[in-house]
């Protein structure tokens, strides 16, 4: 990343806000719809803690969405958006807006905390696993960019 003038003229601000908002709305809508596919995990009360293994609380769909988001983000950054400033409207739309709205770190932490009530090992495996798989997805995204974006 090269340090450069990052001042934003007022006229550009409207387009920038629109880019982030439009991307964020689409991303949030898709994530919210996909997350309804996963049934709500049993509550934190004691009987259900005993009755369910920790794997019942793993947020599979969220993990899929997050991993997909990392893959696309890496592909964009190494391919179509390579060399663009963080203030580029297309980058703001796709990366800050759409993929930012699509993926969620807070939901992952919430579910890791839920798993922790059942198994510390399970919570650690889920969090570290999500990040490790995410890094591999980023690598795959960069590789795909090299193959698809000369």
């Amino acid at each position: 990343m090269v340090d450069e003038d990052v001042s934003l003229p007022p006229l550009r601000l409207g387009w920038t806000v629109l880019a982030v908002a439009a991307g964020g709305a689409i991303g949030t809508l898709i994530r919210a719809e996909i997350l309804t596919l996963q049934s709500t995990p049993p509550s934190l009360d004691v009987p259900s803690v005993a009755a369910h293994p920790w794997t019942a609380y793993v947020p599979w769909w969220l993990l899929v969405v997050n991993t997909f988001g990392v893959l696309v983000a890496a592909w964009l950054l190494a391919g179509p958006l390579r060399g663009r400033s963080p203030d580029d409207n297309w980058r703001l739309f796709a990366l800050t807006g759409f993929l930012g709205g699509l993926t969620s770190y807070s939901a992952l932490i919430r579910d890791v905390d839920l798993i922790k009530a059942h198994s510390i090992v399970g919570a650690t495996v889920t969090l570290v696993g999500a990040i490790v798989v995410g890094v591999f997805a980023a690598a795959l995204g960069v590789l795909t960019a090299r193959l698809t974006w000369p």
């Binding site: 934003l8 964020g24 709305a25 919210a32 988001g69 890496a74 930012g100 932490i109």
Partner: protein, 145 residues
């Protein structure tokens, strides 16, 4: 769903604003802004999750409702009912996983390995810390232990 999407959009705009403010000071610090946003989003999530939870516990364990019980109960019910748009909506849009992993990975490839390692490693730590601070805050807020 419309409210969730609206709050998610607001969350994205809030994240971008924080990144923008930090970036205007030091361009290369933008990813740290993303990290702090994620930690703050986790803190809000921790608060909302346990604010909803404490009310449930109290409504079961308190036999004779007093003033405190009523306030706690109403507050918790509100947080429980607001969870979809506060958590799936605002916090989901506010926090991001894609930038939290993809940008450090490209940093790593670009030779900025120190920064990449800090971002990848510290983000989950700060998020967990934030979540637990949020949980702790509900104990103070709802006077429970």
């Amino acid at each position: 769903m419309a409210l969730i999407v609206m709050m998610g959009t607001l969350g994205c705009l809030a994240r971008w604003s924080v990144e923008e403010v930090v970036e205007r000071r030091v361009l290369s610090h933008r990813p740290y802004a993303t990290m702090m946003v994620n930690a703050l989003g986790a803190l809000i999530t921790g608060f909302v999750v346990y604010a909803s939870y404490h009310g449930v516990v109290q409504s079961i364990s308190t036999s004779s409702p007093d003033g405190l019980w009523t306030v706690n109960h109403v507050g918790s019910r509100w947080f429980a009912s607001a969870s979809p748009w506060l958590l799936t909506g605002f916090c989901g849009g506010f926090t991001t996983f894609s930038s939290a992993i993809a940008i450090p990975y490209l940093d790593w490839r670009g030779g900025r390995r120190y920064r990449a390692a800090i971002l990848i490693g510290a983000t989950p730590m700060l998020c967990l810390l934030g979540f637990w601070v949020g949980e702790l805050a509900t104990r103070v807020f709802f006077h429970t232990h």
